[in-house]
Structure formats: structure tokens, C-alpha cells
Symmetry: C2
């Protein structure tokens, strides 16, 4: 297709196709001359629409996938508007429309049919429709405030009829109202129940109007967003993910290199009866090969107390966000029990709070030291330093040392060899 429309001789074939369609219809005996013109026009416009404005990519993938997601019309002349090829392709349906109306003797019904099909084909060719799609946008908001959205994300939000904000795997440091004020649009909070069991509400009509689903950090930070994308795919709704920073890469701010991190773990709140320590094994695996471990700390939003749950009352506890101190205490408690030397009181770690925001706070020290450091409001996370720490990493991290002498001494003794 690409090749065909680049060769100017191919313009002729476009005209030939029209002639062939007309001849075929004329050959069918019980079709009047008027009807055959309208049918020719309709057939041409429909197949033209499908070929140029519906199908994406290229029939023969000899262009290395660079055109995936673009219609043939959008690919023409590399997207440059008002070229000779584009003008010709606009002229053909117009000419055919004029011929059809002439030969149907301006019959009102046939004129209406021909005119509508022409308008649809022409609208699809307008420069303002270039790369316009109806779709579900899954947009990362980044880590700070309303201005950490990307320009592309903001444009998508502004084009959307409905906007949802996922609000349980992470939290926004600013309120929903601030977002609404900034976008000039209503934002609906999507809680866990909504995203997990009522995803079809979110996706309703997403094949007819744009819908934005906002996620703090990056869309692929949590499993549930993956679910939403899979569900949209099943419903044949085009999805566009707009990436942003998340704790998984912004944690580089602590001074350790991202490529030296092992698997990431989550530390959940201990309860009286439930004190899971399986993440200790994960930390141990990282520890044994000297890698750093990012610990994501528990968030309890819209959780019910056991009593309320037992009685089926939909009363929720106030939100709780685990602090670095609580996480460290739990780690030390497990270490005491397991005693495998993975997170000892004098192991080095970095406590991080509100990474990526203006009030970001980073303190490096021993676990024992970090128990008492006040990190302020949520969200917190903790990095356990691996023994393979590079000298350059230590150089950066020491800027955040709680006690520089202790830090340097332990680095020299147990880390950086």
C-alpha cells in the first residue's frame, strides 16, 4: 500500500478501481444505472475508508514495525499534510460524488447516501483527525503534585469524557480537588472494589469516547492496572499507556544505582495474629548476591476492622501508611527470630519519604538508627543496602548519612570491597 501510493503512476490505478467497480455493477442486470452509480460510490468509499482510515500498520511488514498503530492515511508522506498524494486522494471521492449525483439525476435519497459517505471519508482525512483515536488512556501521574503529569498525559485528560483516579495502591500528595481544579473536569475516585470487580463501569463506552484512568506513579506499578488493560483488550478497546516516574525508578534519588537492585519486596503491617515474614527470604536472596532491596511499605486504605468485617458493616478504618520506623522495627523483629544476619541492627539502609516531591526526605544509617528518625508524612519506603555497593554509590549516599562516622566505618567494614 505504502509502495503503491508513493508511485505517482499508481494514481491511475485508483481511477481504474472506480471504473472496474462501476463496470461490475453495470453488468448486474436488475440494477438500474442510477443505483449502480450510488453503489459504486458507496463501495468505493467504504473500501477506501477501511483501507485508508481503519486498518493500521502495513500489510507487508517490511518497515520494521515503525507504522504499527498508524492508519495507511496517517502513514502517507510520513504524516506531512496537504501533499500532492493527499490532495489527489481527497479529490477522487469528491469527483466520484459529483459524477454519482449527476447520473442519479439529483434524486434526494441517493444524493443523501452519496453525500453522507463522502462526508465521512473527508472528515477522516482532516489534519485535525491525524492520529486521533477513541481509547482508554492509562496515565501515570508521577510522584509529586498535579504538575508531574506529562504534557501528553494532560492532553489526553483534557480530551476525555470521564476521568478516574486509582486511589488505593498509592496515594497522591495533593487532593482530588486540586486535580479537578487543574483539569477543569470532574475526577472520580476508583477504589479497589471498583477497579477489581466493576472494571466494566470504567470501560463503558470507552470505544466511543475517551476515558482516562489516572494512576499515581507509573501505570505498570501495580498488578491491578494490568488487569484493567487485559480487560480492555478483551473488549477490543484500544489502550494507550502514558508512562511516568514511579518509586521503582525514582528511588535512584537515594544514590544507589538502579541496576544494582534485586527483586522488590512489600512489607505489610503486622497484626496481633498475623506476622508474615516470607519477604525475609526474598531479602535474603538479594543479600546473598550483594544486591540492594527496595521495600515498599504497606498502605491500608478503606480497610475494615475484623469486628466490622465479621458483622458485615461497611465501616472503614482511617487510612494508615507504614512509616520507615515501623518497617525497620518489623524487620528487626524478624531478624531476631530467624537470626540469619540479613537485617541486623547495624545493617545499612536508606529511609526515604515522599520521593519525587518537594519535601522529599532521605536518611541513610543503620537499621537501629533509622528506628528513631522522623520522616514525616507518607509515603515512605526503605532500601536495604546490598554488600556489593559501589564506591561511587557510597559517595553519593553518604550525603544523607544520619551519622557520617558510623556510616563510613560500617561501609568500610561490611560493604564496598
Amino acid at each position: 500500500m505504502i509502495i503503491l501510493i508513493h508511485v505517482s503512476g499508481a494514481w491511475l490505478s485508483c481511477v481504474l478501481i472506480v471504473v472496474v467497480i462501476k463496470l461490475l455493477y453495470s453488468l448486474i442486470p436488475f440494477i438500474s444505472s442510477e443505483t449502480s452509480w450510488t453503489l459504486t460510490n458507496l463501495t468505493f468509499n467504504i473500501s477506501h475508508f477501511v483501507m485508508f482510515h481503519w486498518l493500521q500498520g502495513t500489510p507487508i511488514d517490511n518497515n520494521q514495525g515503525a507504522y504499527d498503530g498508524l492508519t495507511v492515511w496517517e502513514q502517507i508522506d510520513d504524516g506531512v499534510q496537504f501533499t500532492a498524494t493527499r490532495k489527489f486522494l481527497m479529490a477522487v471521492p469528491i469527483g466520484l460524488f459529483l459524477l454519482s449525483t449527476h447520473y442519479t439525476h439529483y434524486d434526494v435519497l441517493q444524493f443523501a447516501i452519496n453525500f453522507c459517505s463522502l462526508v465521512i471519508v473527508l472528515i477522516a482525512k482532516l489534519p485535525s483527525m491525524h492520529e486521533v483515536r477513541v481509547m482508554l488512556y492509562v496515565i501515570g501521574l508521577g510522584l509529586g503534585d498535579e504538575k508531574d503529569i506529562t504534557v501528553k498525559g494532560l492532553e489526553a485528560v483534557k480530551s476525555s469524557s470521564r476521568i478516574y483516579l486509582e486511589a488505593y495502591t498509592s496515594i497522591l500528595t495533593i487532593g482530588k480537588e486540586k486535580l479537578e481544579e487543574y483539569y477543569g473536569k470532574e475526577v472520580v475516585i476508583a477504589d479497589r472494589e471498583m477497579v477489581e470487580s466493576e472494571s466494566d463501569v470504567i470501560l463503558a463506552d470507552a470505544d466511543k469516547v475517551d476515558v482516562s484512568f489516572l494512576v499515581v506513579g507509573d501505570p505498570y506499578g501495580a498488578t491491578t492496572h494490568t488487569d484493567l488493560v487485559i480487560r480492555a483488550r478483551e473488549l477490543n478497546i484500544p489502550v494507550k499507556v502514558i508512562h511516568n516516574a514511579s518509586i521503582m525508578n525514582a528511588i535512584g534519588a537515594c544514590g544507589l544505582q538502579l541496576y544494582n537492585f534485586g527483586q522488590t519486596i512489600s512489607i505489610v503491617f503486622f497484626t496481633e495474629t498475623w506476622r508474615p515474614d516470607s519477604f525475609y527470604d526474598r531479602v535474603k536472596e538479594n543479600h546473598q548476591i550483594g544486591l540492594h532491596t527496595l521495600c515498599l511499605l504497606d498502605i491500608k486504605v478503606k480497610e475494615q476492622s475484623i469486628e466490622n468485617m465479621a458483622r458485615g458493616r461497611l465501616i472503614y478504618e482511617p487510612p494508615r501508611y507504614m512509616t520507615v520506623n515501623e518497617a525497620v522495627e518489623q524487620l528487626l523483629e524478624i531478624e531476631e527470630k530467624r537470626d540469619e544476619g540479613i537485617c541486623k541492627p547495624d545493617s545499612l539502609a536508606i529511609g526515604c519519604a515522599r520521593i519525587g516531591t518537594d519535601t522529599q526526605k532521605i536518611v541513610a544509617g543503620t537499621l537501629e538508627e533509622l528506628v528513631n528518625v522522623d520522616f514525616g508524612g507518607p509515603l515512605h519506603s526503605l532500601v536495604l543496602i546490598g554488600s556489593r555497593m559501589h564506591e561511587m554509590e557510597a559517595e553519593f549516599v553518604k550525603e544523607y548519612a544520619y551519622n557520617l562516622d558510623t556510616f563510613n566505618a560500617i561501609v568500610k567494614r561490611d560493604y564496598v570491597h
Copy 2:
């Protein structure tokens, strides 16, 4: 301080301070009454400026670090403008100025001194100066085009006198010209030599004017940016990092969960004489605990041929970007040599190209299959799937399968248990 200015009775102490300063100057015998008024005004304005507009954070850190990086003026009433406290704090220097000019009998010199110090203090209080700083911005551009910058990043760029684009650890899919057009400003390409050895050129005057240093992806993606931040700190230049998506978190688009990734490796171009395979050990470490491995593929920009280097000619080779195919071939070659079963021809991997852009391409398959898949233009990366792949991950990844039957069979045999 925070406490002081919240208590309305404390307004009185502000006036008292003025009176005390005046009395002290009046006690000094050889100072005329006129001079003592000007000195009082100057002393008050200077100390007022330092206390309210220069020092950041709070003297006593009982607010959990939430005010770090904010001046006391900015902290007042949580940043709300035109409150009673703010109005009072604007009125005091104005009142003092009026008194001083009166008692100095409108002497031109003294008037000028008093007026200038008033203007400086008042300008610092303007709402438009709220959180305005002169600094070095290190700004992530994200992975796609000019619109993947965050709104905050774009504002920083627009406020900057000089803009640098780091262009050797990653590449922008669009040209520098596109950025310049979008920003309406000149962008200077900073190559490796410039960032590593001439960082002071970049940082020159960054304590007087805003300077932006643009990085494809996230600022903490590569070691050299860390260097720049450390150097700026040494020069006492305030640094603000504006995060964005990078391959380290956007790779979640391949369907695998980020927390199941082990350490990240870099695969470099083999040469005739240099075929390093140390990354095989890193992959092995991840492999043994069932984790995925993200492989970043080599970029050769501004590299010299051995001949040109030997002759000291600054002639550079055309840029080269390693393809998924080349990476897979090298991995298979090393596997053949080491034969430890880490990346066998039928090991599963995911080839990714241009992640985060409109032409993103993802194909999952065996290494053998991926050798022949055409992924198109740069940048490419490769993910080696770990044996601990979760069922949900497999569910997502299979959408990208090169051959669904092979993929499912191998997943069932070697992965997801």
C-alpha cells in the same frame, strides 16, 4: 519560628524587635538620630530577609521534615497568600520605611538606602516569587517525544537561561530541533566529554540563572548524571531533579511485574578481540532465584575506530544501536561456550523496541525465535524471563507471543509452577 508567627500575640514582638533595635542604635553616642533610623531600617530588613526569605527549613525540626527546602515566608499559613499574618509582615517594613524617611528628613541618600532595602524585602514577599529558586534542574524527558516531559519539567525549561541535552547514554526518538521548536529556545547537546570533564561549563552561573540539564528517561538512569549532581552540590548550587519514566520502570509494559526483576545488566557489542561475558554471571544469579533480567543494549555514539584512535584523529563512527537480534546472538554464543543452561535456545525472553513511544514493539518467544524477529529502529531492550513467572504475568505476556503454542508449551514445562 513557625510557632511564633502563628500566635497572633507574637505580632507585637515583631514591633518590639524594631523598638529594641532603634533603642540600641540610639544608645551609641556618635550616631546621629537620622543615621540610627536608617541603620534600624537596614538591620531590620536584612535580618528579616535572612530569617524569612533566605534560610530554609525550620530551626527546630519538629514538623517531620515537611518544610525542608521552603523558606519561613513560604511556610506561613501553609503557603496560602494574602492572609492576615502575611499582610502584617508586609506592613511592618513599610511602616518602618515611612518612619525612617520621615525622621531622616527625606535626605536623598538615606531615602535611597531605605527604599532599596524595602523593595528587596517586598519583592521577596510577592506571590509570584513563591517557591522560586535559582537552580540547576535535572529533568527527565521520558521515553517518547517532546510531549513526554512533565508539566513541571516544561515550566523549568521555560525559566532556564541555558538548556543542555545529554545525548550519549540514551537517545531521543525525535531530533534536538523538535525540542528547540517546542521550547522556543536553544538546546545544547552535551556529549560524554562535556558532561564528564567539562561539567563546570554546564554549571557555570547556575547559582545566578536557572540551568536545565535534560536527560532521556529519568535523571537517575545513568551514573554520569549522579556525577553532575554531586559536582553541583560541591559548588553549593541547588539542584532539583524532575523525575520521569525510564526503561527501568516502563519495561513493565512487557507484562512482567517490576518487583520480580533482579539486577539489570548491560550487553555490550562484541568486537573481534573483545567478547566480554561477565554479564552472564549476573543473569545466572537472577536465574537461580527465578527472577527476570532486564538487559540494556549497547549504544555506540561518537565512538572512534581503533585506527583513528591510534592516530589521534577525532573522526567518529556512525552511531550504532544494538538490536534484540544481536543481543540474543551474543547471549547464545556465550551459552554455547559456558553451557550452564542459563540462556538456552529455548529459554523464553521478550524483545522490546521503542518502549513508551507510539511505535513500541514487543515480541515474546524463545531466544531462537527472537533472533529472526525484525524489531525496527532503536532503542531495543531484552528481558530474560525468570522461572518464577506468575500465572498472571504469563497471561499478559502471551499477548505478545511470537508463536502462541510454543510459548504456552514452554511456559508450562519450564516456568509458572
